[in-house]
């Protein structure tokens, strides 16, 4: 599903990720763990091809980083559910419209959008807050909204970059449990975090990165 073959990406300042080998299988639940600045977001960006390797190849589904045409990148991204580290919900529209955004991009019709969005809001337990604007939601609710948005297109993989970053431990745990539930239905999940304590008990695969180098997987 996702594979890194000897991938190196260097930022102009010399930071980056180096000689990375990773293989992620369909339906797998993995954590990408490492301290701040280790290169987790960099790896995520290499997956959705916001960055391209200086060396090596990244394969995601049928797309290869060294062959993909620029105008095919949107297609690659439509199969991925993204949950971002910094960018949360858009503040200029309500929760429903936020979750609906990926469906507008692919041009679904109104009814389809409504059914799909409501089904996911039920899934993440926010169906009664569909009309709420992000500033009217708690941090945990916003993050669940983001997950709903990541899932709305029924992707085969979810990339969750630090989805628990700003949440208290129990809310963070709820988010992880939500991702686990989604994973049980067959969606692969790759979640980054720097909070080792949060995940060590969970028994999922974890890939550890430090200073851009994979330490353990």
């Amino acid at each position: 599903m996702i594979s890194f073959d000897n991938v190196t990406y260097t930022y102009p300042n010399g930071m980056g990720v180096f000689n990375v080998h990773i293989r992620i299988l369909p339906g797998e639940f993995s954590f990408l763990i490492g301290p701040s600045g280790a290169g987790k977001t960099t790896l995520i960006k290499l997956i959705y091809m916001d960055l391209f390797p200086d060396k090596g190849e990244v394969h995601v589904n049928r797309f290869a980083s060294n062959k993909i045409k620029k105008r095919k990148i949107p297609h690659l991204r439509r199969d991925i559910g993204m949950i971002f580290q910094n960018f949360n919900l858009l503040y200029d529209r309500n929760l429903f419209e936020n979750v609906a955004l990926p469906l507008h991009v692919v041009g679904c019709d109104r009814k389809e959008i409504h059914d799909r969005v409501m089904a996911l809001l039920i899934e993440v337990g926010l169906d009664d807050k569909a009309e709420f604007f992000p500033h009217e939601l708690s941090g945990g609710e916003q993050q669940r909204g983001c997950i709903a948005r990541g899932l709305v297109k029924d992707p085969d993989i979810i990339l969750a970059d630090e989805p628990t970053g700003n949440l208290d431990p129990s809310t963070a745990m709820q988010i992880i449990q939500l991702l686990e539930r989604i994973n049980k239905k067959g969606t692969a999940v790759l979640m980054t975090t720097h909070n080792y304590r949060l995940i060590k008990e969970l028994g999922h695969r974890f890939i550890e990165i430090k200073d851009g180098i994979i330490q353990h997987q």
Partner: protein
């Protein structure tokens, strides 16, 4: 279809979110199109005036004294084939005599025992719309025709009027182009602001697989919408002014000022074009 609806909704939302800058942009489009609209009205109506002045542009050709009416008629046939001539009227020796008698009350033929007046021709020039009338070459050709004695025309008047008319049109065009450029810059700046304010949306759209076109369209709609609103305001104002002054000056002038569909269409077309170019310049920051 629902995609398009979404994009339009986003475009309208952009305008609404940046009401103040949008109002600035709309006002500047409005003012510029108002000025341009007035230019269009002037341009569309100045032919009333210029045509009246040009009707004074008649050329009189006096034939040689010994030329007979039929020889004069032959030369007139030749004149009719020249460029720029609308009509030629023969004034026979007898006609000339009658005119003289009407004006001065004396019968020259009786007084002198012969008719001293030559036959002549009155030439009306073609009205050439907005293009400059230049009579000098025509005069030269007329002088070369057989039996032509003297050609009389208002050279200085023609030159002055034509020079003034053409210079005014040119200056108006330059001013209009200058104003259009300013408006394009204003629109592109509002759109740019809106693009900067929407960095998070753009980032999200990119990473969920929206195409560039999809991301850009709302901003283009935003700019075109501002252009169109400005244009509508300008059209309404011009219609009001034109109707008002037609009612007011009804007794003073013989013609009505026209502001027709062609004028309206021009303003709308200009609005769409500056809206498009303006917003396209504005979203260049997005082209990475």
């Amino acid at each position: 279809m629902s995609k398009l609806l979404f994009l339009f909704h986003e475009g309208f939302r952009n305008v609404w979110r940046h009401k103040l800058t949008a109002v600035t942009a709309i006002m500047s489009v409005f003012l510029v199109l108002l000025v341009i609209g007035i230019f269009i009205v002037i341009q569309q109506n100045s032919h009333h005036l210029i045509d009246r002045i040009r009707s004074e542009y008649k050329i009189e050709v006096f034939f040689e004294n010994e030329a007979t009416d039929s020889e004069a008629q032959e030369s007139i046939e030749l004149m009719k084939s020249l460029d720029g001539i609308q009509s030629v009227k023969l004034i026979t020796k007898q006609d000339a005599l009658n005119i003289y008698q009407n004006e001065f009350g004396e019968d020259l033929n009786e007084m002198l025992g012969f008719n001293p007046l030559p036959a002549s021709a009155v030439i009306m020039l073609e009205k050439s719309g907005n293009t400059e009338v230049n009579v000098e070459p025509l005069i030269r050709e007329l002088n070369q025709l057989p039996n032509v004695g003297e050609v009389v025309y208002e050279g200085t008047l023609i030159r002055r009027v034509e020079y003034f008319y053409n210079t005014s049109l040119r200056i108006i065009t330059y001013i209009a182009i200058g104003l259009l450029i300013i408006t394009i810059i204003v629109i592109s700046n509002t759109v740019k602001l809106s693009v900067y304010a929407k960095q998070d949306l753009i980032h999200d759209l990119r990473s969920i697989g929206a195409t560039k076109l999809f991301i850009k369209t709302p901003f283009i709609i935003e700019g075109m919408l501002e252009g169109m609103i400005g244009a509508l305001l300008a059209i309404i104002s011009i219609l009001l002014v034109v109707h008002g002054s037609n009612a007011y000056f009804n007794d003073l002038v013989t013609f009505n000022i026209e502001f027709n569909l062609i004028g309206i269409a021009w303003i709308l077309i200009i609005a769409v074009i500056i809206g498009f170019i303006g917003s396209y310049r504005g979203i260049r920051v997005l082209l990475k």
